[in-house]
Symmetry: C2
Subunit: 347 residues, 2 copies
């Protein structure tokens, strides 16, 4: 374990408990689990998810698929690029020779490149986030266009990201997704896709999934969790597997202390439902109030003793995916170092 | 030049013009320029700054200093770690054997490790940002403590980051800095530091520097510029040297289009004085309204034609330092590829 700060630490027991819990949830409901590995970008963690029973992997880019291809093939599972990816035919063909690939699409743009590659497609539908994905009433045209080029259509996928909100947001988003996915199922059946995969979900909505409709879940954050999930009530304190170990570098300005974590490790995700730029388990009322690249200025609970320069303080970042992408290594509670194998595979 | 998106592009002519302009500004006023290289993390760009006349380099971490040590030594200049760094004696000694180093400090925490290493210190003073740095009335005690351990005191440094604001913020912050630096100079003189370096500045405040007080400037962003500097009026459109080349990946949701740049390249810096998460020179009224890791959802000017899936669109990020730290390579306008040599050197 390095003693230089800031660095990222993973509690392996908590990680494994999170992996087991989500797998059990899916198994008990008859839903297939295809974890999104952009969260951790780690071959070691992907193996643990596959060992627990995951039936495939989800990635965001072809570059991530290339990194995870060997492990997916070893376990005999496919990789879904859950993104309306612009695809280069040669690159895709090289990938499909290594592993089974399903490419996301919400337009016909890349159909010519996908045709003949051996890849199937999953069509993205918008279930309420209003980001990408077609409305269900435009699904049929894409299915026909794919079939006209002999591209296998595996089904549809959606990201109910509007479930990242306080109150009943997650339940509402899961219901939106179930309604749209059921309508998509009818379109797919009519279009000759007899047993479609209806893929959805994210960590906040997972518990609300309608298992009578959705056949596959793609959460990512659940394996590590973060301060966003804690604020949403999705993660308990004991579920937080990743922390940024930082040092107090300054107490010179009265009424605050400064950590060396900064935006370069904590990231700047700052949704309205989270107070501050991360959560400090050992000083739970302190607020990470201001963030620069190398400075996190923390406002302590009024009247509480200030830490001293040199003290170590662990911070749970707001958005774990962003933090992992900012480091090359994950330091584990059992003294190991796991590389972030797919860091920076943006394309 | 890669044709995969998203990737980062640098216009070399614009870069060189920016480097020349800041160097000329400093030369004309008799101020030494010590550019902050955390902005670009690139040995190639540091060489261009040194070729233009920079008299030293600024870094944020010892890890960055290690990356830039050889080039600094080659040019016969020193490296300032402009941060209240916690220092390991062995590591610092290894560094000072390679290059002249000045370590920032705002407490005595690391004085024992610095003593005997061959490094000098610069004491951080707070000139109004209220982040780190001592108030000037506590400077004398630190100077005495350093001298008691035979640590050379080079002077003081400050970061007038409160100049990142609309209106007269930059001029006001530069004035705050000059007042505090002048007071610090008196303390340093009284403490036996006869010819102190008074180091300050950042890109927005640089033009307002009081050259009768401040002896050294440490701007970083000026070399590449970004949408924040444009919004502040510090950068003209023709000064923007770095863009994120992205592709339209979806137009499925009415009234918007989606780029593949996302927070993974654009970063999430979003000060109140900037509209949206980046600026699109070819579609200057469009707003990068919502950002996920791999999706930038853009709201076009009402009535303007939507781009098509597959179209290439360049985006100027809000904060260039964050963007550079998210990639391994910078693609240049003359067909080159420059490595981001110090990416991820967080400690």
């Amino acid at each position: 374990m390095t003693d230089r700060t800031p660095h990222v630490r993973i509690d392996v027991e908590v990680l494994d408990a999170n992996i087991t819990a989500m797998q059990s949830f899916c198994d008990n409901r008859g839903i297939a689990l295809r974890p999104h590995v952009k969260t951790h970008k780690s071959l070691v963690i992907a193996r643990r998810q596959l060992d627990a029973g995951a039936h495939g992997l989800t990635v965001a880019t072809l570059g991530e698929a290339e990194v995870f291809a060997a492990v997916a093939r070893e376990y005999g599972v496919s990789i879904l690029v859950a993104y309306p990816a612009l695809v280069d035919a040669d690159r895709l063909r090289a990938l499909t020779q290594r592993v089974d690939v399903i490419v996301g699409a919400d337009s016909e743009h890349s159909f010519d490149a996908i045709a003949g590659s051996g890849a199937a497609i999953s069509i993205e539908i918008d279930t309420g986030l209003r980001r990408s994905g077609v409305a269900v009433d435009r699904l049929d045209a894409l299915v026909r266009a794919a079939h006209a080029r002999d591209i296998p259509v595996e089904g549809v996928f959606s990201f109910p990201g509007h479930g990242y909100s306080a109150g009943s947001g997650a339940a509402d988003a899961a219901r939106d997704e179930a309604v749209a996915s059921a309508a998509a199922r009818d379109v797919l059946h009519a279009g000759g896709v007899t047993d479609p995969v209806l893929s959805g979900g994210c960590t906040p909505t997972a518990a609300h999934t309608d298992a009578t409709v959705v056949t596959e879940l793609r959460p990512g954050v659940y394996a590590l969790m973060d301060a966003q999930q804690r604020a949403l009530g999705v993660a308990r304190d004991e579920d937080l597997a990743l922390t940024v170990r930082s040092s107090v570098v300054s107490t010179a300005v009265r009424g605050s202390y400064v950590l060396d974590a900064g935006a370069k490790l904590l990231g700047l995700d700052s949704p309205a439902y989270v107070e501050g730029h991360g959560w400090i388990p050992s000083r739970p009322g302190d607020v990470v109030a201001r963030l620069w690249e190398h400075h996190a200025v923390v406002t302590p609970v009024p009247g509480s003793p200030l830490p001293s320069v040199g003290d170590r303080i662990d911070v749970v970042p707001n958005h774990v995916c962003a933090t992992v992408n900012l480091v090359d290594e994950l330091h584990t509670s059992d003294g190991g170092v796991w590389p972030v194998d797919a860091r920076g595979r943006n394309t």
